[in-house]
Amino acid sequence: MGLDITWAVDWVRRSAQVISEHRVELITLDREIGDGDHGENMDRGFQAVLPKLDDLAAGSTPGDVLKLVATTLISTVGGAAGPLYGTAYLKAAAAAGSAVSLDGPAIAAILTAARDGVVARGKAETGDKTMIDALTPAVDAADAAAAAGVDAAGVFAAAADAAEAGALATEPLVARKGRASYLGERSAGHRDPGAESSALLLRAAADAAAASAGA
């Protein structure tokens, strides 16, 4: 069963919820190796998306929702995360196209497009201790799951698991991109806040997919 507009809207609501719940945690992670605003920035962004969901035209697609998230994040988040997540959702929307329902391979393609967009803008490589270190394992896991014929909800579940592992694995890394890079060796021993928020957003997607599959 593919993921439709209901799932997309639910994902956004769950995203706003989970980011708000982890606002302080993301601020704390960012305070340790950055400037302490990541949770505040992401929360501001997703709270700004929520009211706009009500204005979605009838017949909107998942791609429309992704586009709405993209433009709202770009115009409300600021910092590094705003343009990077904005690009991610924009590329995801483009990959989603006008499909009304997304199957496993479509989800894998969307995640790939999102990740590639972030890399194109931020020039980070694997191991630089950024959100890429959550997104790339997620893309790889999604690709593998989709290739194995897993359904869309399962693809997101695999992506979320991998993103969480990837976020955790940023802890020992020395940052080479973003503010944490200014700390040099002292950035090791802390989890990257952007990798953590990526994992949270993918878990929200998987939960929304599971709920929609269960419904």
């Binding site: 600021g78 343009p83 200014y182």
Partner: protein
């Protein structure tokens, strides 16, 4: 957290509103989206200069809007780069037909948001160029990193580029002098205390009573190294060494010496540090022909300072001395 604020979410709006009221002779404040422009913008035929970035570094950037310096400033949330919309609005507001320069401190967020804004403004037919400042020698630069941060040297770039634009230089010429200033400026900072971002509510780091952070930036982030507090003269030496290593001087070369407070350090300490810096530079045969001492680019209430040395040439001196009339920097009119 002890601050003279109402709601942490309204800090920037309310403060910028106060700034606009206090300096209505110099600036105009727009709120949707938020940006601060010269009262007489746009000026036909003049290159417009826009800067911006997270708030909390005041007087940067709004304090430098006015005759001879910036045409507009775009304040983001505290320590958070503004989004593209207000940057676009500011760019349009100051476009006098001769193109617009964006002066951007080198942080991923600032660079990306200004990039997007420049693309959007260009789509509206405005010629936009960007100069990225990156004067902080505390950060190791390399192809594979985010590169050096833009810190106090940014103030010098804004003043000198602003004077070039004010005298009628072309966009190419303003870009060239801004890049030359950035290329000749080196900075290094230290913190005695952290700062508290209003929405975070907790200090950006903790330090023992006898510890300081060396190599900090302007966002309350920890530095590269934590050392014991030492006498002022030794601290000044610690800041000057990497600056002079990175951009050596010949004897007799001229420099502007800029001792900047991080916001919470009293002037008495800044001038005391200046004394030592001047002494060291004199020993090395460097001529300090221009000076700046005070809180010009800050990290909220952080206690600490940075030292910036700018290698001067004749044109830079002339542009530095040119009249400027902003809330935070003013002379000649």
């Amino acid at each position: 957290m002890k601050k003279i604020i109402n709601d942490p979410k309204r800090v920037v709006d309310e403060s910028v509103a106060g700034f606009g009221l206090a300096h209505a002779d110099i600036v105009r404040v727009e709120f949707d989206p938020i940006h601060v422009v010269r009262a007489d913008a746009p000026i036909s035929g003049k290159v417009g200069i826009v800067s911006g970035g997270g708030s909390g570094h005041e007087p940067l950037h709004a304090g430098y809007v006015g005759f001879g310096m910036l045409d507009a400033a775009v304040p983001g949330a505290v320590f958070t780069s503004p989004t593209p919309d207000p940057i676009v609005a500011a760019t349009k507001a100051v476009d006098g037909g001769a193109g617009v320069l964006h002066i951007v401190k080198n942080y991923t967020g600032d660079v990306l948001n200004f990039e997007t804004a420049a693309d959007l403004a260009a789509a509206d037919g405005i010629e936009v160029r960007a100069v990225i400042t990156n004067d902080d020698v505390a950060v190791k630069d390399s192809l594979y990193t985010a590169g050096r941060r833009g810190v106090a040297g940014t103030v010098l770039v804004e003043k000198i580029a602003g004077a070039a634009a004010e005298r009628g230089d072309s966009l190419d010429a303003v870009v060239a002098v801004a890049e030359r200033v950035n290329a000749n400026a080196r900075s290094m900072g230290l913190a005695l205390t952290p700062c508290i971002v209003p929405h975070a509510g907790e200090p950006s780091f903790t330090l023992a009573e006898d510890e300081i952070e060396i190599g900090i930036g302007i966002h309350g982030e920890p530095g590269r190294e934590r050392v014991k507090l030492e006498p002022a003269d030794r601290l000044v030496d610690r800041l000057l060494e990497p600056i002079l290593d990175d951009l050596p001087y010949e004897r007799g070369e001229r420099a502007l010496l800029f001792v900047n407070g991080m916001g919470g350090t009293p002037q008495v300490e800044l001038y005391l540090a200046y004394r030592r810096a001047a002494e060291v530079l004199e020993e090395r045969g460097i001529q300090i022909t221009r000076s700046l001492v005070g809180n010009f680019i800050t990290a909220l209430e952080m206690q600490g300072m940075s030292i910036t040395l700018l290698k001067l040439d004749d044109e830079m001196v002339e542009l530095w001395d040119a009249p400027v009339q902003t809330a935070a920097l003013r002379w000649g009119r």
